[in-house]
Subunit: 395 residues, 2 copies
Amino acid sequence: MEADREGLHRPTDPQSFPLREADSSASCPTSERLDFPVAVVLPAGGSGERTGLATPKQFCTFLGRPLISYTIQAFERVTWVKNIVIVVANESLDLMKNIIQKHGHKKVKVVLGGPTRHRSIFNGLRVFMESQDDSQLTKPKVVVIHDAVRPFMEEEFLLKIANAAKEHGAAGAIRPLVSTVIATTSEGYLDHSLERTKYRASEMPQAFLFDTIYQAYQQCTEYDFEFGTECLHLVLQYCGTNAKLVEGPPTLWKVTYIRDLFAAESIIKENLSQRACVITGVHQEAVHLTHCLQKTLAQSMQVDTVSTWHGSDGSSPSTVLENYNLIYISVNSSSFHEINKLVETIGNTALPVLYPVVLIMDAEKWNDAVENASVIALSLIKDRNAALTGQMFVV
Amino acid sequence: MEADREGLHRPTDPQSFPLREADSSASCPTSERLDFPVAVVLPAGGSGERTGLATPKQFCTFLGRPLISYTIQAFERVTWVKNIVIVVANESLDLMKNIIQKHGHKKVKVVLGGPTRHRSIFNGLRVFMESQDDSQLTKPKVVVIHDAVRPFMEEEFLLKIANAAKEHGAAGAIRPLVSTVIATTSEGYLDHSLERTKYRASEMPQAFLFDTIYQAYQQCTEYDFEFGTECLHLVLQYCGTNAKLVEGPPTLWKVTYIRDLFAAESIIKENLSQRACVITGVHQEAVHLTHCLQKTLAQSMQVDTVSTWHGSDGSSPSTVLENYNLIYISVNSSSFHEINKLVETIGNTALPVLYPVVLIMDAEKWNDAVENASVIALSLIKDRNAALTGQMFVV
């Protein structure tokens, strides 16, 4: 069958696209730690009308997980973030609670939002004042406000923003403008265009000394609550605090349109395909084949090898099950029992919601076909296509 | 094997994502025609530094085709666009000529760019003045200027912009601002934020009366050529022409970051997966199975059926080969010869560069498994994974 042979030269091909925008799957603890308490407020009440979908975009699901869960995870990975307050609309309350339970989120508290974004954020902040007896919530020195629909927040940048807020009272992420911004006349004609170098797009996260932003909300008007756009603006107006602006990475972008959902899914897939672990078994031939396979795969991902997937006690799955895409090499049917056991173990484990793909190969005399095998293995890992689960492939 | 069963609930699952951002594959001629000549200038000299890739993004390839070729195709489909002038840097000249030849672009002329965007556009405009004896180039009444990295341009919107330019002298696409725009102090603090309702992002395409934009370029200064940002601004300054601003669809977005390449690839895949044709053959059982298959597939795509893929003369491939993803139903091995012939024909045809996926299924007694078969067929069509070419799947 002739088909899209050239389809390989696609964004997921690392030769054409050597750079990753983010690595959301890897846990990269910064060596620097903060010596003051930090909490996060995550308003998640948006309706997502710009995607044109019935489901608000923060609840759109890919790879078995709603977008907001990826965002929560990005903060949970940061050890110095103590609490994450998620503010949702009443109609999303049950859904949000289910998501938290299903995906095992630990640091979160859900509160009800208000009719506007500012009221929702204020509700989120208030729980720290009202819950003095709730030992799980610590009133933070610095509070970070983020969007539920910006899942690729990186610890390093969060650290910058939190430190800047501690020092200056407020800090916000900015990005260069992608398009020229123009002022329009009321009749829909060009009035003038702005000088791009003087302006920036205001993004998230933003961070504040808790007392500063809380005070700003206590003082602000009904009009601010209804029509105000920027928290940064409120602290300037009511507390005289000039926010420090920090240029963030492009990964801070906000999922706004359907194309952004596509992009987010692709980035997450890409991130989940960075590492594979080949389980060789002990057969000499399998070890040899692993070397060949590794040589090809290593152009696209980090490949480690182990001889067995289980721990020293012979039963508990080792960390390979939780951190890697797995490739099991088997040179003869004698390992059938072993494979069965592996599959069973994975089935029984509350495995990380990142869904490692398990690939098991029957590897008798495939020396010649090792390149084909690598290409298929790689594509199965990258595409994570559930419809192909259980299929046998010929190389 | 347990794996990502929930992976099915992803953006490409039409139940979660019922809306398409664009349909670049379908040819949708507007019934309205323009009664004046229109040409396009496509500056394509950008270095694409924001993606961080070695290849300028207009030349990044997915599904076997560089991004710029999708953009050219979007204009070539529009019958009332007469010429497309592509302005490239010297180092991309050969690459561009190869792309044009390989993908069969017809209406294009390639010219060399200058050191800045404005000089490149002016070079593109000049060919219409200099080539009076070149019968292939018609000096247009209206010239459209677009970006090579905005591949999802729709005819309907282009019509609006061209008509507005004819009437007002100049017209430009705008979009609402996604982020708040803020002015920064020279020390990096917030100065003020702009009132979002008064401003718009200026996008492409833009269109002009040819004589107006040409005159503006003839009069403008060295400074304009070096640092000017907007053609709209030049015609205002030098010809007193107030551009009409027209709000465009979100599909006008510009491929800027790696995530945009991911998104573009996903949208193109989605667009290529809108239609399938099931070739039933004449067996009663195959016709019955087709009905079952169609029922499931029709939730995700338009499914048509034909009894045979070849034309009445028994040899030439009919239009199904060029416009559909194909699913061939075979209920017994007697159709093996027929399948072989189909495969051979596809191989010999200069098939559309849109790469229809060919799927051939051996369908003896799979009444029970028809749902599984549909899921696999659908995922093969949607993923267009070349690594799986020639594989047999068990349902």
